[in-house]
Amino acid sequence: MTDAADLHQQRIASRIKQRYAAERRFRALGFFAVAFSVLVLAFLLVTMTSNAVGGFKRTELRFPIDFSTGLLTIDPSQLEGPNAMQALQGAGLPDVVAFAAAKAAGDVAGTELADGAWREVGKRLITNPALLRGKLDTSLPVSDDLASAWRGEGSAALQALATKLKADGQLVRAFDPGFLTRSDATDPQAVGIWGALKGSMLTMLVTLALAFPVGVLAAVYLEEYAPRNRWTDIIEVSINNLAAVPSIIFGLLGLAVFLWIFPNFRSAPLIGGMTLALMTMPVIVISGRNAIKAVPPSIRDAALAIGASRVQTVFHHVLPLALPGIMTGTIIGMARALGETAPLLMIGMRAFVAAPPDGFTSPSSVLPVQIFLWSDEINRGFVERTSAAIIVLLLFLLAMNGLAIYLRNRFEKTW
């Protein structure tokens, strides 16, 4: 009897050891998995940001312009109104700037200023005409060639010049806030992300305005009203499949249908948004249905039993409770749409657009396509700009996800 009992205990003890070992193994594996993903993410972020830091800078030449010597003769009254910049150009400001640069840094440097660099001086003069009577210290972007020379590329003569100017402290890498306010250009010194960012925002607005109401209404109808039969089953399967369709196919659809209906809106945020809305809608429907399903039936019973109609039950009770889930799903779908490139290439959003879009129907670029285009450039100056654009895209995504979390916590109800 006692022998049998001992054996029993031994078996249990050895079994327990095995169980603990299994627990430890599982925990270690789980920890390893998390650590691995954190490492990969950290590596990605660190390389991206270290590259991107350079992307937010540009190479500038520092030199003074002495207007007091009467280099530029212009009537101060001309500095008002919309034509001030033309007036300055007419008065020879570009030459004045180039001359001052040549005087300070040598004749070659005078020709190596970026094309529109004088406009930055012009803007300062327009906002403050008093500068016309004094000496102005400027720091203006140099040409792409000189910027390449700074990095050790291009002709030996320019490289030597760059090294000399760098040693004198005249050629510097300076933070370039204009990157966030300019648009695409052929010169990496002069590009900006604003056009693509604004295009992305407009596109997302169109996507949201189309996909959210349609998706939520479809989810409500399917969950609360539709009878359970073969047709609703087919619809359900179709929606699930639609969410898994490769995005480029939505692009083809947009090309074939939307651009056929609106042939003049090629590359416009309106068409891009409509195409992405097609892609986002199934995600919203699926997450919306799950959120609606998660609302306890007792709440519906309570509302119905008190005499609420079905519409009242849905809009007063079910939807408010499902809203956090719906919004989370929506923003996940929107985030996916924001990072989508392929369908937008199909509808012509890969055009070179040098100005930010005026509205929903003017040609535009979007962030991921801009990144794709810049990464394709041969010019090394675009490499850093590409990283900077990626950081802008990631920050935009982060802001959207932050908004999702805020909204979820704001509307979440506990009971």
Binding site: R228, L304, G307, K413
Partner: protein, 262 residues
């Protein structure tokens, strides 16, 4: 073998059901039930689990409509009008026949909003002060006013289980129904909260016809004046509560009352 009330105790019927059968798909859940439910009484439905008493209760305010496969045959009338007739407005019916559920299910809104919701959707109050009055009256009748009057803006879900159930009762009576259906209202409550609800049911009886489904025979004996015993989808016996518990006519009832099954 259906025994209705009429033969030994004629009453003033508020709801009368005649030959009611309920199907879930092909399955017959209620088989040929006829019953009259009186105005000023508490009527208890007792019986073992799955006997169909809750199903039958839910036919009385057409809550079974929400179940797609459910089908009702026979005739149920409220004040002589068939509630399953084609022109019957379900919303109006449920305003007249309120319901309290097994698990307290307050809306995740404030206590005030919970009670005010019904009057609001039915347009019962013209002004804010009128609505305040309705809410206060309902909460007083449900015996909850003194406990919550200082925290009407708190969420209804912060109350204890028993208070939540009384809030649900207040919510039901805020629209001034004629009948209140209660589906095992105390099954998730502790004995003290149960006693409080039973007291409340007794207080409300003069004003509404109350139908209560309960698992507990003691509860049926304590709160009801009329009891119907259900078994396997049929109503076996219906009569004065005192008669059912002391002098049942059916062998099955007697077996159930004495604890032989169920």
């Amino acid at each position: 073998m259906v025994t209705t009330l009429h033969d030994r105790d004629p009453i003033d019927a508020k709801i009368s059901a005649r030959n009611v059968s309920v199907f879930y798909g092909d399955k017959k859940a209620i088989d040929d039930v006829s019953i009259d439910i009186a105005t000023q009484y508490v009527t208890a439905f007792i019986g073992p689990s799955g006997c169909g008493k809750s199903t039958f209760l839910r036919t009385l305010n057409r809550m079974n409509d929400t179940i797609a496969s459910a089908r009702v045959e026979g005739e149920i009338s409220l004040d002589g009008q068939d509630i399953y007739r084609s022109g019957m407005d379900v919303v109006q019916l449920r305003a007249r026949v309120g319901m309290v559920f097994q698990k307290p299910n307050p809306f995740p809104k404030s206590i005030y909003e919970n009670v005010a919701y019904g009057p609001r959707i039915h347009g019962l109050s013209g002004s804010r002060s009128e609505l305040d009055e309705i809410v206060e009256r309902a909460l007083r009748r449900a015996g909850l006013w003194d406990e919550v009057k200082d925290r009407l803006t708190d969420s209804g879900t912060t109350l204890s289980g028993g208070q939540q159930q009384r809030l649900c009762i207040a919510r039901a009576i805020a629209v001034d129904p004629e009948v209140i259906l209660m589906d095992e209202p105390c099954s998730s409550l502790d004995p003290i909260a149960t006693a409080r609800i039973e007291e409340l049911i007794d207080e409300l009886r003069g004003r509404y016809a109350i139908v209560i489904v309960t698992h507990s025979m003691q509860q049926a004996a304590r709160v009801s004046q009329r009891t119907a015993f259900f078994h396997l989808g049929r109503m076996v016996e219906y009569g004065k509560t005192s008669d059912i518990f002391t002098n049942p006519r059916e062998e099955k009832t007697k077996d159930y009352i004495t604890g032989r099954y169920g």
